[in-house]
Amino acid sequence: MTLVSAKIGQSVSRIDGFAKVTGQARYAAEPHPAGMLYGFIVNSPVVRGKIEAIRDEAARAVPGVVEIMTHLNRPHTALFEKSYVDGLGVPGSPYRPLHDGEIRFNGQPVAVVFAETFEAAREAAMLVEVDYERWPHNADFEAALHQKYMPEKPRSNYVPPKSRGNAAEAYALSPVKVEGHYHLAPEHHNPMEMHATTVIVEDDGTFTVWDKTQGPQAVQAYLTSALSLSKDQVRVRNPYVGGAFGSGLRAQHNVFLAALGAKMLKRSVRVSLTRQQMFTHVFRPEAIMDIALGATLDGTLQSMIVQGVTDTSRFEHNMENLVVWGLINYKCPNATADYKVAPRDTYTSSDMRAPGAATGVNLFEMAIDEMAYACTMDPLKFRLHNYSDVDAMHDMPLTSKALKEAMVQGADRFGWHDRPMAPKSMRDGKELVGWGMATGIWDAMFSPTSARATLTADGRLRIATAASDIGTGTYTILAQTASEAFGIPIEKIDIELGDSTLPECPTEGGSWTAASAGAAVWLACQSLREKLFKTLSKNGSTSAWLTEGLSNNTIVLKDGFLQSAEASETLKLSLPEAISLTGQEMLEVEETAKPGLRGTLNQMRKARFTHSAVFCEVRVDEDLGIIRVTRLVNAVAAGRIMNPKTAASQVRGAMVMATGMALHEESLMDERVGRFMNHNFSEYHIPAHADIPDMDVLFVEENDPEVSPLGVKGVGEIGMCGTAAAIANAIFHATGHRYRNLPIIPGS
């Protein structure tokens, strides 16, 4: 069989699939260095207060226990608080694990037991007794709302809402008004793989840290800074990540505690969290939005007033872009928005898949549906009628917006035109049937990224960048990119990711990896091919056709062979032959994809977003409150799609998560103790197979050379945005009831 080059845009199955299903892919908790100790974290049952005493005699008596690390005996760490600031840049005072005896949130680590076996560490952890002085606290979101505020120094990625016209006056004058109070429950990321870190202490004393993270270089920077280590003392690896959804954006306490333990004991250690402990760190903030919309009788939006609040901790100001999406996406002459955060005594909430938009777009799109009905206008027509071709909040042109096409194509695929307008008008047996839709929007981001391309003597191409594949298919799309850019079959490519020593790549997240790392790999491969051709023409003693072709620029590299574009196909030179002709053992280049001056100016002049239109059918047993999602169609406009198979899988995965947001997921805070009580998969419900129908994902053509070098926008989050609203809107259409609290659960 002849191996041929893959192309960007082909549906290629995951190249790491075999390694994953055969267990060869190694995750953070899987390396077993000799002499490794197991660490188990002891969590505080107290939400605020101070440690008075720690009694660990019984724990130390458990056979196999080596050390119990607390704030009293931990080794030296960085002196200054700012050394603990991680790459995500949440302003405030970062949480420093085991720094002192103060308790700031329920579940805070107060000790780590290190033992020869996991079982001994866990048993001993249960025997550590801690006395606390308890301080008053508030963990109730409703109560926290009384203390809402705008942080003085916002997060770096915060987009301040920008008002236009006079929204209050226009609202008062609007003949059609809707007003609603919307709420989203807090959610936990709950990736399949729990957070874990294995620190291998190498013979030279340096640390190789296997961590579950979305950014190995960010974790390396954090550890070296917080633990006062030099950069060459710490290497962070995360070649495989079992999902993260944002929980791996910040360095979590497990990695700090594992490295601290290794520093203290001078031995390799592992610290892994249990599922229950996964509820002691980041979560998607609880949110409320008050939305008031005004329109004329013909369904033209006149005013949008959006006020939103999300929770944060007492010590950091986590912020989301919650309230801006409707102002960006809809044409409306008068609009204003306000955003605040409400502090409560929990760990700091953090980015979870489509942070801000998953909440803000879905809740806003529920309000838009209410407005369409208030104007007795089909919800799709209403959206088309108030469509904006620009970023309406900044009055800025867009690089592209094929949302109209997405709405039309999605509606066709779904059969939307057969929909009766009146709610409660379709029935099948005992079930009410409803059809709802919503639109989605998410940033299309690009960050400077570097990649290295190496051609080795055996004719294989090695690609390296410090990107993380958190299960999204990054290995595969980068192999496709390299295959097309260099002209080599995918089987001859090795991709190295997830290692802090590799060329720089920003932390994976925000759907920017495909566009950014893809561009870097493309550039590196093109540059490597040029280098190969140049080197060959300089010192290649070679056959006439090749010498001639190289000087005429008629040589191409195709499917792993150099051949003349003009001469006979039988004249070919394999890559191993080519390398040997260069007289070198390998050829290597490193390139950085940057927006460049033109690109940077362009970024300032044009806004860039991914869009989608989601259509949903639900069946509701009105008496029993049982809701079944029976059809989901999502039409996505995301620029160039690198791999329809992995891209559709991304969108479907997010739609499953959004179904959970609409119907199931809710972390139940017991404000009396400040703890999320349903801290296991038995009672924190994510959708089961039975909850998910066949999902139809279609990609709308969108040719956008401006958005990123490869015209790629990214698809990791867009499936979250709009899907939950489409479900809620379908429930209204089925039942005639508006539910403004997500999730919508039986009995609500």
């Binding site: 969590n43 049952p45 458990v62 079982e119 866990r122 048993e123 249960m126 249990t274 229950q276 099948d428 047996g429 005992k430 079930e431 069946r619 047993d621 008496d623 029993l624 409150g625 049982i626 079944r628 119907l663 199931h664 139940l668 805070m669 017991d670 009396r672 103790v673 703890r675 009580m677 349903n678 801290h679 296991n680 038995s682 009672e683 419900h685 959708p687 089961a688 197979h689 039975a690 909850d691 659960i745 039986p746 009995g747 609500s748």
Partner: protein, 335 residues
């Protein structure tokens, strides 16, 4: 999980003589989880899997005896069960997941513990787990907690689906212990919490469930197991109802009804069954039955929705049973 010793006795005699702080292990789907969470802290684990309790057999006087070690999955798939007691098969299939049912046993199902959040979290006060510490489920996040049979000491729901059907079928639980064998009606097997919520059932020290007897009773097609939960599969009941009716000439001759998800034990009210007998099925009759079943219900902070939902589930289940259209556990739409 704490250090423990382990034994695997091969005779009932040996299995019945156990030290203090011992726990019996069958499928382990509940006990092992609880040990990992430090909720159960047995010093000794007695593995029952070598005992001869793995048969499903017909009884001389009709009826069926189901071994305590038969898995939930094998029970639900057994031809004698699916033919004669489809209500039981249906309730089993409404619970857990295929993987858990493959592992979980019938005896274990009877003896499973509550899924109360506060019971599961050793940092929280719980009279069922740590007698005398108080009940933090009261006034807490208690949407899943019981509204019937509760006490000041405990509002934890008994979570089984299978036992709800067994209650409706008037099954009997066979026990063996240091003082010999005895049989207990399933309806009497589980205890109300009262002021000793740590005792889930009437088992005495060293007693083992050996089998469950199903009486020779047939409801034909007039039965159903209807379960409402927070997602369409793999969740414990918010409200569930098992019904069996014997209907002749459109008149209910005999009725059996039990509820899950709402009580501290499988919930049965004999007066509600009597109400149905001799009557022609009708929505108003079913409303009366629902009212009777829910008498004395007490709600707390988060679980008032159960009281709103329960009558509807009862009425729908009775309609399904009366119509002879039992609820499918495969197709999730409710008939």
């Amino acid at each position: 999980m704490r250090h423990f010793s382990y034994s695997r006795p091969e005779t009932f005699e040996n299995a019945s003589h156990i030290p203090d702080h011992a726990r019996y292990l069958a499928g382990g789907t509940n006990l092992i989880d609880l040990m990992k969470s430090d909720v159960e802290r047995p010093e000794h684990v007695v593995d029952l899997n070598a005992l001869p309790m793995s048969q499903i057999e017909e009884r001389p006087a009709g009826g069926l005896r189901i071994g305590a070690l038969v898995t939930n999955a094998d029970t639900a798939a057994h031809p004698l069960v699916t033919e004669r007691y489809p209500l039981l098969a249906s309730a089993i299939l409404a619970g857990a997941s295929p993987q858990i049912r493959n592992r979980a046993t019938n005896g274990g199902n009877l003896n499973q513990r509550t899924r109360c959040h506060y019971f599961y979290d050793p940092d929280m006060a719980c009279n069922k787990r740590s007698p005398g510490t108080g009940c933090s489920a009261k006034g807490g996040r208690n949407r899943i907690m019981a509204i019937l049979g509760t006490s000041d000491a405990c509002i934890a729901t008994f979570p089984s689906d299978m036992c709800v059907a067994l209650a409706a079928l008037n099954a009997t639980v066979n026990l063996i212990g240091p003082e010999g064998e005895r049989a207990v009606a399933l309806r009497d097997y589980h205890r109300l919490p009262e002021d000793t919520p740590w005792q889930d059932n009437v088992l005495r020290k060293g007693e083992i469930v050996t089998s469950i007897d199903l009486p020779p009773i047939s409801f034909g097609k007039n039965h159903t197991y209807l379960k409402v939960r927070d997602r369409l599969s793999f969740a414990f009941a918010i409200v569930s109802v098992a019904v069996g009716l014997q209907v002749e000439n459109n008149t209910i001759r005999k009725a059996s009804i039990a509820m899950g998800g709402v009580g501290t034990k499988p919930w049965c009210v004999p007066e509600a069954e009597t109400l149905l007998e001799g009557k022609v099925p009708s929505p108003s009759l079913f409303r009366d039955v629902a009212e009777c079943l829910l008498q004395g219900a007490v709600t707390d902070r988060d679980n008032a929705a159960k009281l709103k939902l329960a009558p509807r589930v009862i009425i729908r289940a009775l309609l399904q049973a009366a119509a002879g259209t039992p609820q499918s556990q495969t197709y999730k739409s409710i008939s």
